[in-house]
Subunit: 406 residues, 2 copies
């Protein structure tokens, strides 16, 4: 399975567009995704108790097992903490798209990303939706525009795609995501929209999606803040023409593998574009007592401000990594622990069997110059392993978040 | 009870000194606290699974209900993640002080603060201890020197003291603390040394201390990292001459009140000196369903990087506060919520009964110019209330932590 970067219009029957409506100054701010036949829909949502109006509505549509034919996404305003007015405005946004595309309103999903606590400029959005639908396109350009329209503090748009074969039928998956700040490993700290022409039952689509996030989006952290608007959703319209996948057979496993590649890549792209990030960090914890311990330990490492700032400073202050694991809540015995750093400039061992090594600071400085650093931990406590992805914390993180609204 | 800033030599019979030994370049790096008669000892320690050698030893002495007569503290090296050698070195440090002062080794506590994972320069420390003891003084200067010797990234030393009367006897409490980074509300993310001449049983001393940290040190956060070396301890030598406090009577309550004032003040001083902090934040959550919910919600607010950076940027991005409470794990219903900010420049209401208000951005900017900001939340969910203290996150946090070791 070869990964490409072709986005949401890659699978058969999917259209997209991304437009300027004037909500944001000189930047695209509205995206629409459309499938020519109704698609099965699966999704995972933020665990934050405070949920944006769009999340509440999308969740309800998922509970009702609605077939979905279009998604409208605005950037600039999160429509979260906006009370009853926010619920009404979100409904109007769905209604506008349903009217414009002659769809049932329950076939329309909405998503919002941006500042919390500000009401949506409904008139601008509704006019924008009406004017945008004619630009829906199944071309590459439609996907490119949509992916750029959902960006907020993102500096690059994020698209991935993949093809594979099931029963002799070519199946395609495409996806776009946004995410840069307010990213924390507690599903689902970003927006991801995945399209596929696979024919699969809704329960299995949901099962595959729910499984896949555990070791992908849930294992990344930019800043430890779990947003109110996060969602990763997938639409499957069945146009690939394969026999419907209705059990966890080998075809299902092929799909899960493909979905995992898509979600892992999007998760890593989000981290690479982390607010102010100059380096990406990949933590691998081996030898943990349980899989869950391994995950919690990885997250503690990539989520520690002190670890993040040390890597920004290219300082081999490895004690902060052990410290972060120590307060993570997961079991770890520092006595058996080994720790090493690796980058394209080489690797360096820092701790062996719990004993700090006298390491060459010059070599460490060289290794830490890499813009992608692997943090390798072996605990010797058990047989379980996990990986997590984070980024360093730089002056730019402060700059970006010190005046986000202004 | 009037708070003063006289430090650990304030109570009768306590001596201190702070010296240069050469571990740190041109800064004091060794402190000793001594009581002329053995004192009852109570303490609370870090919850980090990785514990410094000094913490392990001090905990054991607490379990053994040892009477304590002296404490030696080094700054620059944490002696944590240093394996068996670290345990031996810590023991040598205690031994040196015991020999110099002709004490039983079990009457000596040790504490270390600084870089994790580096072995102590034992020879320098031992020579330093031998040379330092002659400088022990019950004067104000002894306390001042000790308080400055335990600093690491602290920019100011932290001392408090208090006097009160029990049964007609004047009782004094003195204290010093260090803490600036790796500060997180999960006891005890700093070092605090409290002295008193009160006569009190050891179990009640411990009880008072354990109770007091819940709403003081456990309610502060600089950066969410819980260190491996944290400890808050108290020595009570009984020289005030009051009848021993042996039950939770009114004298005990007076003492608890005094101890709470001491610990609250030290906690706030630590926050004010938070690494890179330009503003202190006090979060008050009222109307929570339980006391614990109120505490968790306060901590989530003061611990959010996005909240911290917004205050640094003087940006009234209040949605981040609601968002942080939402992912805290504690119950909160955003619909009834009210939110306001207050500083010496005025106050501004942002949300009422879950509805965002159209607020005056100029007034908000004015309020946020204050260097001490109150964040006032009322949830209308119940009758419980808590307070937490944090600081903003600035470029200097990144600068300080990007090259801590170098």
């Amino acid at each position: 399975m070869k990964l490409n970067h072709n986005g949401v219009t890659e699978p058969t029957g999917f259209y997209a567009c991304g437009r300027y409506t004037g909500m944001k100054y000189k930047r695209r701010d509205l995206a629409i995704v459309y499938t020519e036949i109704p698609a099965r829909y699966a999704a995972v949502f933020t665990t934050n108790q405070v949920k944006a109006a769009s999340i509440i509505r999308n969740k309800q549509l998922l509970d009702e097992k609605s077939l979905i034919q279009a998604i409208v996404i605005n950037s600039g305003h999160a429509n979260s903490c906006t009370g009853q007015q926010g619920i009404v405005n979100n409904q109007k946004m769905a209604e506008s798209l349903a009217n414009a595309l002659k769809l049932d309103i329950n076939a329309v999903l909405t998503a919002s990303t941006g500042v919390i606590g500000v009401q949506l400029p409904v008139d601008i959005i509704n006019q924008g939706i009406e004017k945008s639908c004619v630009f829906l396109s199944s071309d590459r350009q439609g996907a490119i525009d949509a992916a750029s329209a959902i960006m907020t503090t993102d500096t690059v748009s994020k698209e991935v795609s993949l093809q594979f074969t099931i029963d002799g039928k070519l199946v395609k998956i495409g996806a776009m995501a946004k995410g840069s700040g307010m990213i924390h490993p507690n599903m689902a700290t970003m927006l991801a929209f995945i399209t596929t022409d696979l024919n699969i039952s809704q329960p299995l689509l949901q099962h595959a999606m729910s499984d896949s996030i555990i070791d992908t989006y849930n294992m990344i952290s930019v800043d430890g803040d779990t947003s109110t608007n996060d969602m990763a959703c997938i639409l499957a319209n069945g146009l690939a023409g394969n026999d419907e996948i209705i059990e966890e057979d080998e075809n299902y496993i092929i799909f899960c593998k493909a979905l995992n590649i898509i979600n892992t890549e999007l998760a890593k792209m989000i981290i690479k574009d982390g607010e102010g990030a100059t380096k990406t960090l990949e933590a691998t914890v081996r030898g943990a007592k349980t899989k869950d311990d391994a995950r919690v330990l990885c997250k503690a490492i990539i989520n520690s401000n002190l670890v993040k700032t040390a890597f920004f400073g290219e300082d081999a202050n490895w004690g902060r990594i052990i410290c972060a694991m120590g307060y993570s809540g997961a079991f770890m015995d520092p006595n058996g622990l080994s720790l090493a750093f690796k980058s394209r400039f080489g690797s360096i061992r820092l701790v062996e069997n719990g004993i700090p090594l006298h390491f060459n600071e010059e070599l460490a400085a060289e290794v830490l110059k890499g813009n992608s650093i692997e943090i390798l931990v072996n605990l010797m406590d058990g047989d379980f392993e996990a990986k997590g992805w984070g980024c360093d914390m730089s002056y730019d993180y402060i700059r970006i978040n010190g005046d986000y609204r202004t």
